[in-house]
């Protein structure tokens, strides 16, 4: 029989006992719905976790340090590779080279220094760090009062809330640092803050010549530079809720400035004093370069390349790996639980079709008497199972989508009550829609195998005798 004839006959037969077939189809759809709801929840949670992690900037980040920085030399992993003295310096050309690597979004130096600020004539001493423009979307700045820097080199500052409290003379009691950020920000936003810092300047022309000379002991001139004390007025544009002791590399400071601004200030870096062989160089040298990778999955590859260049690296790769494994297992179990309902539904299909055979025994006999082959009868029952599966699958996806949506709405109401930001914990990708329907059809066809074979085996004479 032709496919459209089969489909037509199958739908006609299904319409004959509407109630029973509808109930069976609903059974399938409930199974598919539970599968879709479970998996979309798993996928949603995974996406949420990934989104949060990417936003935190921890899991797509590699911290690159120079092997010349011997402070941590006894670490095992750093015993391999080139000897410190033969390794390249982590300077501006190296940073650019790293930034050119495949899958690298950006590589920026970690510039930080301790300096003093004057606010309303009172001096304060604290750590300052340069923040690249890309951190605008970092979750570190979620819940910040005010705005992010207007440009990458504007004279603007974002304060950490404990420093803001210090400026206002509100010393937070230890243990109870629950001062509302909004309260602190109100009197500070738009105000001026004066930063005093030490600018490093090349001493005389000797520095210009130094660039072409090799490393090692050079003339005394190359190691000399002078320091000038400077002042810079900064406008306070934001106050963050950020913990200054968190692990978020560049954000670990109490005053944050635009990165380009910090670079242009040429503030004396601690490395300048430690690695005196580079001290006279005009080319900036960094203690740490932070590399951001396009996709957390590419971390390993980029890390390997950077290591080959002769630098030390550190990333949270292991953490993402175990996270991914956790979600794979979670999805598997959610899928198994979701499929249980579908398995129950498939028994319903077997039952419905076996009943249909008993009921339509005579009809099968008639069809065989007028020329239907075993294959025709088998295909017809198969088609009926397939049609129920297709309808059940489509209905189930819709139902699962609604269940997921309801769970999401419910969760967000709960989060709102807890004063937390809403989250998308549920996501139905197109591949899930497609594969759920295909899965429902496949399960239905498999359920139809036995009834169809049984119907095909009926002997026409016996089937016709049946009243």
């Amino acid at each position: 029989m032709k496919v459209y004839d089969l489909a037509e006959l199958a739908i006609r037969n299904l319409r004959e006992s509407v109630l029973r077939n509808t109930l069976t189809t609903v059974g399938i759809s409930v199974g598919v719905a539970s599968l879709v709801a479970m998996l979309s929840l798993g996928i949603g949670l995974q996406q949420m976790a990934t989104r949060r992690l990417v936003k935190s900037g921890l899991f797509d980040t590699i911290v690159v340090t120079s092997r010349r920085d011997l402070r941590n030399f006894n670490r095992d992993e750093e015993q391999n590779g080139p000897a410190p003295a033969e390794s390249p310096a982590l300077d501006e050309p190296s940073r650019q080279k790293i930034e050119q690597l495949a899958n690298v979004t950006e590589a920026f130096p970690d510039l930080r220094f301790i300096t003093s600020f004057t606010y309303e004539t009172k001096p304060h001493l604290t750590m300052v760090a340069g923040i690249p423009a890309s951190y605008r979307t970092n979750d570190a700045f979620e819940g910040m009062q005010g705005t992010f820097f207007s440009s990458d080199n504007s004279d603007e500052a974002i304060l950490q809330k404990t420093f803001a409290a210090e400026l206002l003379g509100k010393t937070a009691k230890p243990g109870s640092d629950d001062v509302a950020v909004a309260e602190l920000a109100k009197p500070l936003l738009g105000k001026e803050l004066t930063m005093r810092y030490a600018e490093r300047m090349p001493s005389g022309e000797s520095a210009a010549r130094e660039e072409s000379t090799s490393q090692g002991n050079a003339t005394p001139d190359t190691t000399s530079y002078s320091i000038a004390s400077r002042e810079r007025k900064l406008r306070i544009v934001g106050v963050t809720d950020l913990d200054p002791d968190s692990m978020r590399g560049p954000v670990r400071a109490r005053v944050l400035l635009p990165l380009k601004l910090v670079q242009s200030l040429h503030v004396v870096q601690p490395t300048a004093l430690r690695d005196t062989t580079q001290a006279g160089s005009k080319v900036p040298t960094y203690s740490t370069v932070t590399v951001r990778v396009k996709d957390p999955g590419k971390i390993q590859q980029v890390e390997d390349t950077v290591r080959k260049m002769g630098f030390n690296t550190f990333s949270m790769l292991d953490a993402t790996r175990s996270l991914r494994r956790f979600f794979a297992i979670l999805d598997l179990f959610l899928g198994i639980f979701g499929s249980l309902a579908l398995a129950v539904a498939s028994i319903g299909i077997v039952n419905t079709l076996v009943m249909a055979i008993l009921e339509r025994r005579r009809e099968i006999g008639i069809m065989k008497a007028i020329g239907a082959s075993d294959a025709d009868v088998k295909k017809l029952f198969f088609a009926e199972a397939g049609v129920m599966g297709a309808f059940g699958g489509a209905l189930g996806v819709a139902l699962g989508w609604m269940i997921g949506r309801l769970i999401n709405i419910g969760t967000n109401i709960y989060l709102k009550r807890q004063d937390l930001a809403p989250e998308q914990i549920w996501f139905v990708p197109w591949w899930l829609v497609g594969s759920a329907i295909v899965f429902a059809i496949v399960v239905s066809l498999m359920s139809g195998l036995y009834p169809a074979a049984r119907a095909a085996r009926l002997e026409p004479v016996q089937a016709l005798r049946y009243e």
């Binding site: 004839d5 037969n13 005579r362 008497a369 007028i370 020329g371 026409p460 004479v461 016709l464």
Partner: protein, 258 residues
């Protein structure tokens, strides 16, 4: 298995030949010999009536010829092919293309319209929809049902239902028309209408007709040959002189006096 060794089956092109055919059933402890060693030969274009009391095996023999059932032993040769040796799929093809069958209880599919019932065999034969439709209308016109196409069997009279069944049997232009008590559920006037249609098939379409009946009068009125069965055995095989003259006039002569 072809029955008696040595006797070669003489196969006629459009005929039916059974050779010592048996169909035995086991029912509980008992062996029922529904057909018990019948050898009979029917010529192409013949109108044969199978007569006997109920349980004589006439319907069982018809089912064997129709390919609805398989013999326990012996051979049933139709159109040169031994049905006992055919596979299930080949037997289905035999039922689809070679045989048209009409039953006492009509055996129409209740949830299909007249038109759909009639074109159902064409679906199994994978005929295109448009062609199917025109063929079904044509044959329904022939049996006088062109005004009942969209009715369901339950909305038809017994005679109309049997005419639908006849149309369905004819749709694939089979060489063989098998009728199992075709008038058994009909009143005599409608029965006559149906019988006349069956005779038309025999005379105009040159179909071989085998009809099972227990009404001797009906058989004598229409058949050219009467085959009597009792207890699964052939007891008498006689030409029906009343109709024989017209058989010899194979051109389909008139049938005065019937």
């Amino acid at each position: 298995m072809i029955a008696t060794p040595g006797t070669k089956l003489q196969v006629t092109a459009a005929g039916i030949q059974t050779e010592n055919v048996c169909r035995h059933y086991v029912m509980g402890q008992n062996l029922i010999r529904a057909v018990d060693g019948i050898s009979v030969r029917m010529l192409g274009g013949e109108f044969v009536a199978l007569l006997g009391t109920s349980g004589s095996g006439k319907s069982s023999l018809l089912n064997l010829i129709a390919g609805l059932d398989r013999p326990t032993s012996g051979a049933v040769v139709v159109e040169g092919r031994n049905l006992a040796k055919l596979s299930r799929a080949e037997l289905a093809k035999h039922r689809l293309y070679t045989v048209g069958m009409v039953f006492q209880s009509f055996n129409l599919i209740p949830n299909m319209t007249v038109l759909e019932n009639v074109e159902l065999p064409l679906r199994f034969a994978e005929v295109e929809r448009a062609r199917r439709d025109s063929l079904a209308r044509e044959v329904l016109d022939r049996v006088g049902l062109s005004n009942r196409l969209q009715h369901r069997p339950s909305e038809l009279s017994g005679g109309e239902q049997q005419r639908t069944a006849l149309a369905r049997a004819l749709i694939n232009r089979p060489k063989l028309l098998l009728a199992d008590e075709p008038t058994g559920n009909l009143d005599s006037r409608t029965g006559t209408e149906i019988m006349n249609l069956i005779r038309e098939c025999n005379e105009d379409l040159r179909m071989t007709v085998v009809m099972v009946t227990h009404e001797r009068a009906l058989a004598e009125q229409y058949a050219q040959r009467l085959v009597f069965l009792a207890d699964g055995k052939l007891v008498n095989d006689q030409p029906n002189d009343q109709n024989l003259t017209s058989t010899t006039a194979q051109g389909g002569g008139s049938r005065e006096g019937v």
